[in-house]
């Protein structure tokens, strides 16, 4: 006997609803259906009768409302009106009741459906019709999938009427369903019936006009619709208000890529205020700094067109010297010369390999081959500009607040497939907004595009807008997740991401190539010596002049303006200095940190050599023993070998453990987070520090203690600075312990503190022998290149001193010997 599966109606409905995340998604789903049906327009129309509880209702209107006990209680008839009783003003149930009276129309002028289509496609859930016939009659690639569009209707409202007229068809079909019927637990899907009626002698327009009135029909162009589908959804599930509709309007704006606009238009209206919305227009991008259009042929070539729109050509013209620069690119030759920048556009072809900057061997060609043809358009809009920057780079002026506003809505790299968004990629305020991890790239590079290391400059995800166009036909391997929220993250998807990132990088590099020479020229013309002497001369001259102006006293206002103008000049000069100083300080910090790591590592050379010396030989030994065991027949010899095997394995384990510790230290210390200024809790810092080094100290029998009350102390600094300080001090202590023969057998490091007169005194002391006796001036130890140990760099304590001074503090020697005791003085700290 063979028995069929049965699906409960409820389950079918659940599956359908789960596939659609929110009301917006549902509307998009229906627009997709319109697109697939070859519509040229799709209209979303809200009949927003109520978005709040009305305080009074006309008698005639009141009688038209569906009867409801709450309604009867809440309103009192006064003359010809029904007036709301005050205690119901904020009644949630009443509000829901009114919101349910709103109606949503979804109208298109597509092909419409006949009885057969309704039966075979519309009424079959999960139909694969679109997979079998991926092209529409107009040659569009159908964008809906998996046959779940009708559940979108369920998501929007409890009742649904659908009117459809086939192109050239004579009759109108009315299809009607009440979704809540599905809820009965025992009912199977095949038992649910939808009503289907044939309405003769009527046109679609007539039906709509009845509801909307002729005027509205005219304005919304609905009266032009001769065939297509009209969906009327009532008993809405969402409390639509003007605000939420506005959000929808904004979001639909980027639903359709700009180039599709002409062929398929989407409108959104509010019946009660027809001027509110209108055609959904993709926000026009004319005010960008850079535009890049890439065309990947699906094989090996990427054609990239770059449009540079960042600079004011007139201002740039004056910067002749920029085009004499030869580094990093020859600015006298295309595409970096003035002419090319003036003409804005240039195109370059890249082979995949060059673009990805990978060797053929490292490229997983297979995955890239599977990506398929795609185009990627990408806009860069910086959202702010310091007035000082404009002295270096001749930027075009722009309205920063407008850009920030626009970007806050539309920034992100979005994916479209066959004209429709693949969500949630590039969706602002969602986790997949930065699906390319551009933010992480930015965090890893701290350089501006014009700086020396600007080749590392990375664009922030908040400053770009991009569209990747895919199609179901060309990009077969980039498939939807079953949940319809995004693409499956397979290896092709990763290759695809790689490709997109490398295209973005072409822009980043180009911006560096253009801006670096501008910076170089500016520096040449404004180097600090020139600036200082110029500023000195100006100040001298100006102070005389200001004195005269003040003595004159006649035109005081004019005099003040003049003085203020002068201050502007000073301000700019100071700003120029400041940015230079910031840059240098940043570099210094990084260098000090790296130097300290180097110094610290040299203390452990012995151990590192030890690891290096043992790791490979041990593994070779292991191999040898294993081979012997395999061949050995004599059991006693075999057992012997197994003993040796055990010893070797144990040793390899110990060595691996050490390697593991070192890798942990390395990763921790070079973490880029440590280069950011932040509030550091010293207790937390020292506890982490102890953890990092714990193993190494323990093995050398070094006790490391710190005052637990450090957890009440916070300082504003850079973690990398504290690392530099403690790594250098620790290095010195360890060296004293393991190299000095006059060192005591007890190895102890302790860190305590005392607050004296608003200064935090951090005492670092060890149980080592202290300073060598031959050191005459104890403060010599803070001088650069002063060292008393073989192979010492003599940089450690010098670096510590520099950092302390940089942090508005100092370091002094409290005790020379035995047991060196240092005092790190911080003047800025918080006690919590």
């Amino acid at each position: 006997m063979k028995i069929p599966f049965r699906v409960s109606a409820r389950t079918a409905r659940l599956i359908g609803r789960e596939n659609i995340a929110n009301a917006e998604g549902a509307i998009i789903e229906i627009i997709k259906n319109s697109y697939d049906a070859d519509s040229t327009k799709s209209i979303i129309l809200f009949d927003l009768k109520y978005s709040e509880i009305p305080t009074s209702i006309d008698k005639s209107e009141f009688y038209q409302l569906p009867s409801n006990k709450l309604l009867d209680k809440a309103y009192k008839k006064i003359k010809e009106k029904y007036v709301l009783l005050p205690k119901f003003i904020n009644n949630k149930f009443l509000l829901t009741y009114f919101i349910k009276q709103n109606v949503l129309y979804l109208i298109d002028n597509g092909e419409g459906m006949d009885i057969n289509t309704i039966k075979s496609s519309w009424m079959t859930i999960g139909t694969d019709e679109k997979l079998l016939n991926p092209y529409s009659n107009r040659g569009r690639i159908k964008s809906g999938e998996k046959g779940i569009g009708r559940f979108a209707l369920d998501r929007l409202g409890a009742m649904c009427e659908l009117y459809t007229q086939k192109k050239l068809g004579k009759e109108i079909l009315k299809w009607e369903v009440v979704w809540d019927k599905f809820e009965k637990e025992t009912i199977t899907l095949d038992k649910i019936k939808a009503n289907l009626e044939i309405l003769n002698n009527k046109s679609l327009t007539e039906i709509i006009e009845k509801d909307l009135g002729p005027e509205l029909s005219k304005i919304t162009l609905i009266n032009e619709i001769k065939h297509g589908t009209v969906i009327k959804i009532t008993n809405l599930r969402d409390p639509w208000t003007k605000k939420t509709i506005k959000n929808l309007y904004n979001n639909l704006g980027v639903l359709i890529p700009p180039t599709e606009l002409g062929k398929f238009k989407v409108f959104l209206y509010n019946k009660h205020d027809i001027n509110d919305f209108g055609e959904i227009v993709n926000p026009l991008l004319n005010d960008y700094d850079y535009k890049l259009t890439a065309n990947f042929d699906g094989n090996d070539n990427v054609k990239i067109k770059i449009t540079r729109n960042e600079f004011d050509i007139e201002l740039l013209k004056e910067k002749r010297n920029v085009f004499k620069e030869k580094e990093p690119m020859d600015m006298s030759k295309a595409p970096y010369d003035f002419e090319t920048i003036k003409n804005k556009n240039f195109t370059q072809n890249y082979e995949l390999e060059d673009l990805l900057n990978k060797n053929k061997e490292n490229l997983i060609k297979e995955d890239f081959d599977k990506i398929g043809h795609l185009t990627f358009t990408f806009y860069f809009l910086k959202n702010q500009m310091r007035s000082f920057d404009r002295k270096i780079y001749p930027y075009r002026e722009f309205d920063s607040s407008k850009r920030i506003n626009w970007l806050s809505k539309f920034a992100g790299i979005k994916i479209y497939r066959d004209g429709f968004r693949v969500r949630p990629y590039g969706e602002t305020n969602e986790s997949a907004f930065d699906w390319l991890n551009l933010g992480e790239r930015v965090a890893g590079s701290r350089f501006g595009p014009g700086q020396k290391a600007g080749i590392q400059w990375k664009v922030s995800p908040q400053q770009i807008y991009g569209i990747i166009k895919l199609s179901r036909i060309n990009n077969i391997s980039l498939i939807d997740k079953a949940s319809r929220e995004g693409l499956q993250e397979n290896s092709v998807f990763y290759a695809f991401k790689d490709l997109i990132l490398s295209i973005i990088n072409v822009f980043e590099k180009d911006r560096h190539y253009i801006m670096r020479p501008m910076h170089v020229v500016y520096e040449k013309e404004h180097n600090s010596e020139v600036l200082i002497s110029r500023a000195q001369a100006t100040i001298k001259k100006d102070s005389e002049e200001i004195k005269n102006i003040i003595l004159d006293g006649d035109n005081f206002e004019g005099a003040l303006t003049k003085i203020i103008d002068k201050f502007d000049v000073y301000k700019d000069t100071i700003e120029a200095f400041k940015s230079k100083v910031d840059e240098v300080e940043d570099e210094n910090r990084l260098l000090r940190g790296l130097a300290s790591i180097g110094i610290t590592l040299s203390t452990f050379t012995h151990e590192l050599h030890h690891i290096y010396n043992n790791l490979l030989p041990s593994t070779q030994e292991l191999e040898k023993i294993l081979n012997k065991i395999l061949l050995e027949k004599d059991n006693s010899v075999k057992n012997n070998l197994i003993d040796r095997l055990n010893i070797t394995v144990k040793r390899i384990f110990t060595e691996n453990e050490r390697v593991d510790h070192w890798i942990k230290i390395a990763l921790k210390l070079i973490n880029k987070d440590r280069r950011k200024r932040k509030t550091i809790n010293l207790g937390e810092y020292l506890s982490e520090y102890k953890k990092i080094w714990g193993n190494h100290l323990e093995r050398r029998f070094i006790e490391f203690n710190y005052d637990e009350k450090f957890e009440n102390i916070e300082i504003e600094s850079f973690t990398i600075d504290l690392d530099s300080i403690f790594n250098n001090l620790l290095t010195n202590s360890i060296n004293a312990f393991i190299l000095r023969k006059d060192s005591s057998s007890v190895r102890k490091i302790s860190i305590n503190f005392k607050i004296i007169d608003k200064t935090l005194n951090v005492f670092y002391e060890d149980s080592g022998p202290g300073l060598e006796k031959f050191i005459k001036n104890k403060n010599q130890i803070f001088e650069p290149l002063f060292s008393t140990i073989p192979n010492g760099t003599g940089l450690g304590l010098w670096i510590v001193k520099l950092i302390m001074i940089d942090n508005n503090g100092d370091i002094i020697i409290e005790r020379e010997r035995p047991g060196l005791k240092l005092n790190l003085q911080f003047n800025k700290f918080n006690k919590i």
Partner: protein, 217 residues
């Protein structure tokens, strides 16, 4: 052919490394290895080692890092040994050869017996190196003894030339320094006169000793 058996000792503060070395020499038919951790009292440690009559001492260069009680390194160890027995075969192994060699030169120690651990481990050179160091030392002492006897014979026969006499004194002193530097006589006491009377005393003493032992029997 009779195989020579060498008794050697390896000193390292790290247990792993000691085990490692022990393991390495387990199957060597010629080398009999004892492993030891360094002891706090260097003088006493060295004295005991010398008394135990090993053919060679192998020591790790860095001995303090993982043991806070030790206050000397391989180089100090070597110097202490050589204060008693000059040129006694001491091999220093190190993970960081360059450092150790530089330090040796600074301390006026010939760095020829300082070797890189990894190189020796990887190439199986270590046993050969050890053997050749021991053989060289033993052969040298053997040569010294032979030559001294040769010269002494000549002296007895009264045909020792003055050049040969100074050679005898040199060689004798060298041998003494190699056996026990601390009780060796100063070279100046070994001039032909001093030497003659000294030798006479020694010969007399030996004669008496022989008679005493004869009397015992």
């Amino acid at each position: 052919m009779k195989t020579m058996r060498y008794d050697i000792v390896y000193i390292d503060e790290e247990l792993n490394d000691r085990n490692d070395m022990r393991d390495k020499f387990k199957d060597d038919p010629e080398l009999n290895l004892t492993v030891l951790p360094p002891e706090e009292d260097l003088e006493n440690f060295v004295k005991n080692l010398i008394d135990s009559n090993y053919d060679a001492l192998i020591v790790d260069y860095q001995l303090m890092e993982y043991n806070p009680k030790i206050k000397y390194d391989g180089l100090d160890f070597l110097k202490t040994i050589h204060e008693i027995k000059e040129e006694y075969p001491v091999i220093i192994l190190t993970d960081y050869e360059e450092d150790a060699r530089n330090n040796a030169v600074k301390n006026d120690v010939n760095p020829r017996n300082i070797f890189d651990k990894r190189e020796l481990k990887e190439t199986e050179k270590l046993p050969r190196k050890i053997k050749s160091v021991i053989d060289y030392y033993k052969n040298h002492i053997e040569d010294l003894k032979n030559r001294i006897n040769e010269l002494k014979q000549k002296e007895k026969e009264g045909i020792l030339k003055s050049k040969e006499e100074s050679e005898l004194i040199d060689k004798d002193s060298e041998l003494e320094r190699r056996i026990n530097k601390k009780v060796s006589l100063d070279k100046t006491l070994k001039g032909s006169l001093a030497l003659k009377s000294l030798n006479n005393i020694l010969e007399e003493t030996e004669k008496y000793l022989k008679e005493i032992s004869k009397g015992k029997n």
